[in-house]
């Protein structure tokens, strides 16, 4: 039996991109994965303890009913916006530089979303009753909006990601002959019989363009809806129309910065210096400068409005941030998100990956702090209780252990993925999508047959 011939686009970097996948799983991989699994194990143990004893093992209390878990939820969903921003929004705007980094960014989306969802589950007092959300769901509750938006986002991201991966899985199936047989079977099954026909590429591009529009709308919706969990209540400072756009900007900001970190790691670990040139980082640098300034704008818009308005219950929260219990966090956040990174970007960032990574790490630490400083201070000074009860909150080791395990989980999924799949899209970065040779007789007949049928019908 003759195997049907398959075509793949020509990519001068094919060797370099496939190289990380070729060697069998070695001690270094196992050490990394093992280490991450240990961190995850500690988190799982902490969670099991929390599940058995109750949420009392956290630092949450009255009135600070939401703490680190909800902060993580917002942060992970924000991180997830990286991929969609780069692959969907930049796709629509025709920014060509996105191509080599699209998959690395999308993978970040895919592997951070589940941990955002997990954070909500971890925060629930009765995770065993999660099905009630489906059985008795009420769409009047912003949590249901969240539930719907995030699950739709997760589903669409998987589809979008998989579609763009399809031609490359087929390439792996055909080019990687020395990998273990289970790995080859995996490629064979996942490739869904992809042949690399121009018509297939044409359809794929069209579907992805269509999905990019949909994903762009989703990305705006999802993070705005996440913010509405806070914004729809009448608690001071949360209840602001700015909270949606601010969350969205923060999400794309931290997501893009995370892409810088991921790219630098991939570049180093998998020797992709040629494929991921410094120029890419320079393009991201420009985006990050814009986002930093956008962040400053939002920050001033929010706090100047609060300060000028001088509404008593809002000022309680305002001072909690600027000089109160959260002032250290607030100022560290300001320096980590804006002051230091913008200086780095302007004076040091160009052509320097090390500086770009430094700034990006700072931005992500700062954005986590920002989520915290947006969520918690309001809870310590709720509308009525600010004069009756003054709340405070200190997270416990349980919360930190679980947080660490979520990040470890994300890194674990990411590192496993990059060991089995090309992390730079081969077909999107190829010089041309034209097949190398003409079609064999058999395929052509099938193809023509299909066309005839379609014309006839």
């Amino acid at each position: 039996m003759r195997q049907a011939q398959v075509y793949h686009p020509d990519n001068q970097y094919e060797e370099a991109i496939l190289d990380p996948i070729k060697p069998p799983i070695n001690a270094r991989d196992l050490l990394l994965w093992g280490g991450l699994l240990v961190v995850m194990g500690i988190g799982v143990a902490a969670y099991v303890r929390q599940f058995i004893l109750g949420l009392g093992v956290t630092g949450m209390n009255r009135p600070v009913y939401w703490g680190v878990y909800i902060t993580n939820f917002v942060f992970f969903i924000g991180l997830a916006h990286s991929g969609t921003f780069i692959s969907a929004i930049l796709r629509l705007s025709g920014a060509e530089f996105r191509k080599p980094l699209a998959r690395a960014a999308e993978a970040l989306t895919l592997f951070s979303l589940p941990f955002g969802v997990a954070s909500i589950m971890i925060d629930m007092g009765r995770p065993d009753r999660v099905m009630n959300v489906i059985l008795y769901g009420r769409f009047e509750s912003p949590l249901l909006w969240d539930f719907t938006a995030v699950s739709l986002y997760l589903f669409s991201s998987v589809v979008f990601f998989y579609l763009s991966l399809l031609p490359d899985i087929a390439l792996c199936r055909d080019r990687l002959e020395d990998v273990p047989s289970w790995q080859r079977s995996m490629y064979r099954i996942l490739a869904l019989g992809w042949k690399g026909h121009p018509e297939q590429f044409h359809r794929l591009e069209r579907v992805m363009d269509g999905m990019a529009i949909f994903m762009t709308m989703l990305v705006v919706t999802v993070h705005t809806v996440v913010s509405w969990v806070f914004g729809m209540t009448i608690q001071p400072v949360w209840h602001s129309a700015l909270i949606g756009p601010f969350f969205l900007l923060g999400a794309i900001f931290s997501g893009t910065a995370a892409v810088v970190i991921v790219l630098a790691i991939l570049r180093k670990a998998y020797h992709l210096e040629d494929v991921l040139p410094v120029g890419l980082f320079n393009s991201l640098r420009k985006l990050l400068i814009v986002f930093s300034l956008g962040w400053l704008y939002m920050m001033i818009a929010e706090h100047l409005t609060l300060y000028y308005g001088n509404i008593p219950e809002e000022m309680e929260v305002f001072w909690q941030r600027f000089t109160g219990d959260f002032s250290i966090m607030f100022w560290v956040m300001t320096f980590a998100v804006f002051v230091v990174p913008i200086l780095i970007f302007i004076f040091r960032g160009k052509n320097s990956i090390a500086w770009m990574v430094t700034a990006s790490v700072l931005i992500n630490i700062g954005m986590w702090l920002e989520r915290y400083v947006v969520i918690i201070p309001t809870e310590t000074r709720p509308r009525l209780l600010y004069e009756l009860v003054q709340g405070s909150y200190t997270p416990t080791w349980t919360e930190w252990a679980i947080t660490a395990s979520l990040f470890a989980g994300m890194f674990l999924l990411y590192s496993i993925f990059t060991r089995f799949f090309p992390v730079v899209p081969l077909w999107e970065t190829a010089e041309t999508l034209e097949p190398e040779t003409a079609f064999p007789e058999k395929r052509q007949r099938g193809f023509r047959g299909a066309r005839r049928r379609r014309l006839g019908g």
Partner: protein, 239 residues
């Protein structure tokens, strides 16, 4: 259909915290350790707050002010709006109730309530030895599940129900005695126990009821009226 409402006269209140204690025993609210209480995890459906007094004059006159606070049973409750599973709901007579069996413990309602009347069970409820054998045995089912004083599982939210089980008991008693249920048959524990008779309870829609007449007082005000929640608990100013 009655519209149950409460009036609290702050002028009469002596801040004895009797309402708080009566509520605790009536509704089986769990007891927490002093360490937990310091974290702000004590559960008091009817809490008594000292108000911060400002200025020299207040200190000189040693005039401490207090606010006792049950659930406001709002006409437009922010807690019900945000509940993703309908575990909290307003019944036909305007009482905001909590279905422990359905609550998923997301604590959205506790965050959304501007009055802080909702409490979360951080641990499995517990009582000191001896106390655990003297819990209120009254049980009331709403929507098929036990509510009110029923023992709560860990991880769910609980709140003041205007002693809904007393309402049900009063109806049953009236039925057993072969007479019509009168509004005066139903009184929450905090109102019954109030040392200074500072609390009044009744049907707001009945123009002759005490609560309805007192709500017309010039001293009458509602907590956070500007929040648009339309509380059914009405306070009377001091002085």
């Amino acid at each position: 259909m009655a519209k149950w409402s409460m009036v609290i006269d702050l002028d009469k209140c002596v801040a004895c915290q009797g309402c708080s204690i009566a509520c605790r025993f009536e509704n089986n609210t769990p007891v927490v350790s002093p360490e937990e209480a310091a974290l702000g995890r004590s559960i008091l459906w009817n809490e008594v707050f000292p108000l911060r007094s400002e200025g020299e004059a207040a200190i000189a006159s040693a005039q401490a002010k207090f606010l006792t606070r049950p659930c406001m049973h709002c006409e437009d409750p922010p807690c019900i709006k945000v509940c993703p599973v309908g575990a909290t709901y307003k019944d036909d007579e305007g009482i905001v109730r909590q279905n422990y069996a359905r609550c998923i413990g997301c604590r959205f309602c506790t965050v959304a309530c501007p009055y802080g009347v909702r409490y979360f069970n951080w641990y499995e409820p517990s009582w000191e030895e001896g106390m655990d054998t003297h819990l209120n045995p009254d049980r009331v089912a709403g929507r098929g599940d036990l509510e009110g004083p029923a023992i709560r599982p860990k991880g769910v939210v609980e709140k003041c129900t205007f002693c809904i089980h007393r309402h049900h008991k009063a109806i049953a008693r009236a039925e057993a005695e072969g007479r019509e249920f009168r509004n005066s048959d139903y009184t929450p524990a905090c109102v019954q126990t109030c040392t200074a008779k500072a609390r009044f309870f009744g049907d707001f829609d009945d123009p002759n009821s005490t609560v309805s007449r007192l709500s017309q007082s010039r001293r009458a005000f509602r907590l956070l009226d500007e929040a648009g929640t339309s509380p059914k608990v009405i306070y009377l100013h001091e002085g």
